[in-house]
Amino acid sequence: MSTMIKVGMADLKVVSYPDALTTLGLGSCVGICLYDATTRVTGMAHIMLPSSKAIRKNENVAKFADTAIDELIVQMEKLGAKKSRFTAKIAGGAQMFSFSSQNESMKIGERNAEAVRDILKQYGIPIKADDTGGNFGRTIEFFSENGKLLIKTAGKGIKEV
């Protein structure tokens, strides 16, 4: 029996086959899904901010793109996965409210997605699917069975990547 395990906001979880991971209502946050197809070890993080570096209150590693990806890698390797085999799928990073004159703090979704892409690139983890941006929320489900990512929206349909 496969169990669907919930990842909260500023949270991360790692599972192995046959379990699956989900996070609900991603807005400007980004859901990072890592997968090792050989061992079917699967990880997901729901990050809120691009970097832990400029923030004093940074004990929660799952809150930031940089520290969350590091922690996912460590936890997945503990379950027997190998970083060199990892692939990534990412979703979220929306801008829920838009104004004609944008300042930096409003573009947090975009900055989150960019930070995630940069860090994955540094680690040489290829991004197989990138469903970021827009102005709508997303719920995602990530399956250890095949590394498929299901993306649900309120009113904009469901898709699988």
Binding site: G8, M9, A10, D11, L24, G25, L26, G27, S28, C29, M48, L49, I55, R56, K57, E59, N60, K63, A94, M96, F97, S98, F99, S105, I108, N135, F136, G137, R138, T139, A154
Partner: protein, 205 residues
């Protein structure tokens, strides 16, 4: 900057709470004037919640809710957001303009923006009066989407200083028809504006 947000006994938190009480009270008065009916307001509930608990207020992260968002401009900067569940949103529009069928059409959206504008405007006016800061709100932006997604906006802002979110829950009840409107205000000062806001009230960080 020494903003610390995590202790319930914190003086900063007490001040923010009081601001929320007064602001929301003012908003309720404006609502009563606008609809020319008696509006009761429950004592606002001000609390610190974990990120994960916030969407539960509105029925869970996937529940579709309505968020009305404003930027705060002037002596201090930041944003203020008013969030309602769908029933409350329809009730609110109905109080102003009773209608036959309720759906999120263009009319409902623009009515909600306008009501949000008045509520947030009076909240900010009271904040301005309290602090002597010259502040105003931008035009509204409205989103109808999953609670988790809408609430990620204040959560991320608070996330820069805390692992909690400060929320102010307001329940307005229109007395005659007993239509209840449950709404939540999120006052979100920009990081460098906490000092200005609190300083104007004589609180040093």
């Amino acid at each position: 900057m020494g903003i610390q947000f995590d202790s319930m006994n914190n003086i900063v938190l007490d001040v923010l709470r009081e601001i929320g009480n007064i602001g929301a009270g003012n908003a309720a008065t404006s609502l009563a004037k606008m609809i020319d009916k008696k509006v009761d307001m429950k004592v606002p509930v001000v609390k610190l919640l974990d990120f994960d608990q916030v969407p539960d207020l509105l029925g869970g992260p996937e529940q579709v809710v309505c968020g009305i968002f404003f930027k705060i401009e002037g002596d201090m900067t930041g944003s203020i957001m008013f969030v309602l569940d769908q029933t409350s949103a329809f009730n609110l529009v109905d109080l102003l303009m009773p209608r036959e069928n309720a759906e999120f059409d263009e009319f409902t959206v623009s009515a909600l923006k306008e009501i949000g504008n008045i509520l947030a405007g009076s909240y900010i006016a009271s904040l301005s009066g309290l602090t002597n800061l010259k502040i105003k709100i931008s035009i509204p932006a409205l989103a109808i989407d999953m609670a988790g997604a809408i609430l990620s906006v204040p959560a991320i802002h608070f996330g820069q200083v805390s692992d909690n979110v400060l929320i102010i829950q307001n329940e307005f009840i229109e007395v005659l028809e007993a239509k209840s409107v449950d709404g939540y205000f999120f006052l979100i000062p920009d990081l460098d504006s906490y000092e200005i806001l609190l300083g104007s009230l004589g609180v040093t960080l």
